[in-house]
Symmetry: D2
Subunit: 343 residues, 4 copies
């Protein structure tokens, strides 16, 4: 590289623009294969960026002393919101792929077998970094069969690291204002108001409330613990209590960024799920009931993954437990002070 930076050197455009080799060139050139290559490369570029942002976010969230007076929580929120913006563009990109008709795809589809998008190492890493575990993935054996050994190792390693979901759980459990005694009184009072708010047909929600927040008995004693007989949950009762508290009292200065953070998690889940949904529809429109280039059940896989691969569904579900603002228990003056600025 010369001393003076040049745009094309800086961006390594020789590599980027020299990486399109349609297989159909060796047979009967299929015009749309170029689009197929370029759009998948664009997806992978953005997956790299998403991973880069997410790894930086996880790095920050790992600091046990994440200080709410530091700029770092703001950085986390900002980078997660960037991830959501990127995901919106990835959804939009499907509009481009849909300009390829099923007939145009047929012109080169057989040449690609058995390559398929299921082999995207980066996308699986992304899911793992967010919090998807192997045992929750749909179609586990199929999933393995599509990957190379080194890819499986890399994804397993990523799954072994703390995911964003786990880090969020830890961060919620550590929320400082919950060391105060206010908290102990707060939850039984809240539970009682919540119970009154339930319609007759919703009474079953109370048992779920108890499961999620574990407030009938001594909450402090059980922090992070999970009973064997209950469905496996990703968020501990202590984390759920903190998250609900943030949603309820988001107006206090110290809770504003935490509230934004929780919101960004839901936004990411929603964009990711919209992407999966539009992707699934597009595959359906493209190949109907035919078998995908990966030798399988494309649409079925995507359909099942849609429900299962929601990462932050336990955060989303907390909206079931909100009560009206005017019925909220008032906080004591000590708590109010702790939630404000130095002033």
């Amino acid at each position: 590289m010369p001393d003076e930076v040049h745009y094309s050197d800086y961006l390594h455009l020789d590599k980027i623009l020299g990486a399109q080799n349609p297989l159909s060139k060796q047979h009967q050139p299929a015009h749309d294969e170029m689009l197929f290559i370029v759009i998948h490369q664009a997806y992978e570029l953005w997956f790299k960026q998403l991973l880069f942002e997410l790894e930086s976010v996880n790095g920050i969230m790992q600091q046990p002393s994440l200080n709410d007076n530091s700029p770092e929580l703001q950085t986390v929120v900002h980078r997660l919101s960037r991830c959501a913006e990127i995901l919106k563009v990835l959804v939009h990109q499907i509009d481009i792929l849909e300009t390829m008709t099923p007939m145009d795809f047929l012109d080169f589809r057989d040449l690609l077998r058995p390559a398929s998008g299921f082999q995207s190492r980066q996308f699986k890493l992304l899911e793992a970094r967010l919090g998807l575990k192997y045992e929750h993935r749909y179609g586990q054996s199929y999933y393995i069969s599509q990957l190379r050994p080194e890819e499986i190792r890399a994804i397993r390693q990523a799954e072994a690291d703390k995911s964003l979901l786990e880090l969020v759980n830890g961060w919620l459990e550590r929320m400082p204002f919950f060391d105060y005694q206010d908290s102990a009184d707060f939850w039984p009072a809240y539970r009682s108001i919540y119970r009154q708010s339930l319609a007759e047909a919703e009474k079953a929600n109370l048992a779920f409330f108890d499961l999620v927040f574990d407030v009938k008995t001594d909450p402090g004693a059980r922090k992070g613990e999970q009973k064997q007989t209950e469905p496996v949950r990703s968020l501990s009762p202590a984390a759920c209590r903190a998250a609900l508290f943030i949603m309820l009292y988001r107006g206090y200065p110290i809770l504003q960024l935490p509230f934004q953070l929780l919101n960004q998690l839901l936004e990411i889940d929603e964009q990711l799920s919209t992407w999966r949904y539009r992707h699934m529809s597009m595959v359906h429109r493209m190949i109907g009931m035919r078998i995908g280039t990966g030798g399988s059940t494309g649409k079925d896989y995507l359909h099942s993954a849609l429900e299962r691969h929601y990462i932050f569904k336990e955060v989303a579900a907390l909206s079931s437990f909100l009560i009206e603002r005017r019925r909220l228990p008032s906080l004591g003056p000590d708590m109010e002070k702790r939630l404000g600025f130095a002033g």
Copy 2:
């Protein structure tokens, strides 16, 4: 109205801008109720426009003599593509509604009971005009319970009229170039190439091919007929043959607009289904497992409707039966001539 047209008179802005009366004003004003009202009114305005376009489209498609030399088929394609553009904006509008948090919604949610979006007469008319029948709707009794008698009557009436799906079926059956004998030879040849193209695991598709196109026996004799033992289908074998032919030979002048028309149907279905999906996710994020203002199962309804309410799924499924362009049977010179311009 004065002689000189004025913007606000022309648009009846007194009515439009005087139609927002938040119920919470009489109690404790809830800021976000205004947004809730305005966005639903905007949806209803656009539903009116969609119905207007769709009724004009159905009107044109009803003409048995729809002449492919007339500008009318172009008008149909143009108006359907406008419908797709409108639906894209309706999907986008959900971004606005998502700026309302669950807590903000709680501030006025109870005041609305039992009103709910299920009571949108126009949306149900829209589904009916497109081709959704009462017996295919998810949750039929629930559906009835939410509507007023005159609304049910209006929707039943719309269902009794020929829907776009039925009109498309008729139009496909009438495709003029299929009176030629080429057609009779064509299908067995096509079926044989298709059979060869199937992978081992896909062999079952052949039976489905025969069901859909009815080509083993005499196709002409059965036009429009359906066997009792088979799943109820909306498109007759003759219509399916015409539609597949259009997809295969879309390059010929006379097939270009028909191809665009079929594509627009799929585009409308996809946008409508994306809207349902995002709507469902938004409701889930907003109320969790709580019961909707309509007293019911909001999310479950939306989830089930998602699959069931695909109107043109039989058109989409035809992509299962395509073969590669280079293997297409060549058409005879008579047929080629019929597919071109006067020249």
Copy 3:
């Protein structure tokens, strides 16, 4: 209205859906006039919502004691970000209008004269509430000629109220952490680093720096004052100093929401300007060099308004005065403490 709330009553759908009366119906019906009416009504509905949000924002910003420990600043940011989301949909709606071709518009264009979008009272109110003054509006006499006396009165009244721009100026001037003496030392130091960062060709920026921030002399003495010989500016030097400080040190807890607020102002300006730009292009595509229904120079007006009607341009221009993070003067411990949480 009956005891049980019904969707169509709640939304006053009789008014909303009964307000479309195409003028061409009395002559030769022009199909696209319905779209023209509906889209303008949808725009006006959203303008109403924008005004509603903006008036609530201005109401909050008017409180001289706007306490940064209260949830109200968060409310302001949230509602401004909702405005930006709405504006994005308004930009998107232009895609729908573009499905009307120039020929289709011609079918009813003459019937509308002299009505035109220039007569939208709500849009002019919106500009006034944000901060556009009559004397900065492009084409003042033309502007007046298009409006009814009561509309002019309403807009003049809105212009007489404190606009968001003025309220932001006041709020910035009151920023509490600037009563500290750190501030007095800070600016000369900053100016010196800034001067060093300027390339040779940029030296003129220094004079502009001095004009904007007024830091060479005693800044405290001049708060809010403007010299007669300088270009009229909307933001005082004290406000500009606070805004720049927020951009530079946005990481500190107490500055996080103020930073988001400034960003939302720019976002609103950008969306509004994108809307104007796309609107202008659309008008150009629709009528070419013909005269608009308002009897005037549609495209020229829009083109000129584009530059002139940027409301928060002085905030945007502050990015000219940033320096690299690693060169920032460090703040004293007192200041650091003031910028944090109670802890």
Copy 4:
């Protein structure tokens, strides 16, 4: 490459994902430089795809015998509409870049000098392929100074090839139905109706009409010729007549695809111009009045290019010359027949 195609080999992900080398890594790592690199690489990937589509389109348009009975015109329309979809995503991508704040950009901005987006060879090629000539480019000497000799050669070569604008001109001139004598009678009649349609203030449009269509004298004799004293125009009078005729009678089968083609040209211009506009606003927001990394006047360049670089403005301007559908001269039966299908 192994016998079995693998996703990552097929897409050359080693190249694509190994081409991000932030310069700030060698100094003080700046987090946002990765985004800056990735988004520009994504832009260049899409520029490659746009060039690929455009070159195929120009290839087809070059065939003097472009037969309107062939599928090729449909292919042109389809690929242009794909270009428009890609451009929409490129506009959307700016939302991602805007998540980088001016302060974050400052962290690595100086390292990039003098590299800048002006050095994008592909973007300049794209403009050249569409029809932008060197002499119409804003800031010619500046433009040259930013490029390497081989890049200038490549762009000059592209400018020497027939551009899409020139090919469209030729295709319009060759429109077959204009050999008929109907055409000779048609234009004087049309001119007379047009003249009557002009408002008093628009009378000057008539001179422009005569310049553009050259209909007062014998049009046949001048095909493609341009008078020296008139402003240089890209489209000949014969081409303009054909284009206007297509807009007026777009409903006839043979004119349907040509009408879609003209519309796609305007759509591409509009998306490209929206991209330039949003790009300009973003640069303004990012660096204010500072000098860009390319050592220049970023925003000024972009502002001027905005107006000048409209490629198909002469097509857009034709909407000035439309008349109402009900006043259109009726075509003779011969012409009507020529405009239809073989039937």
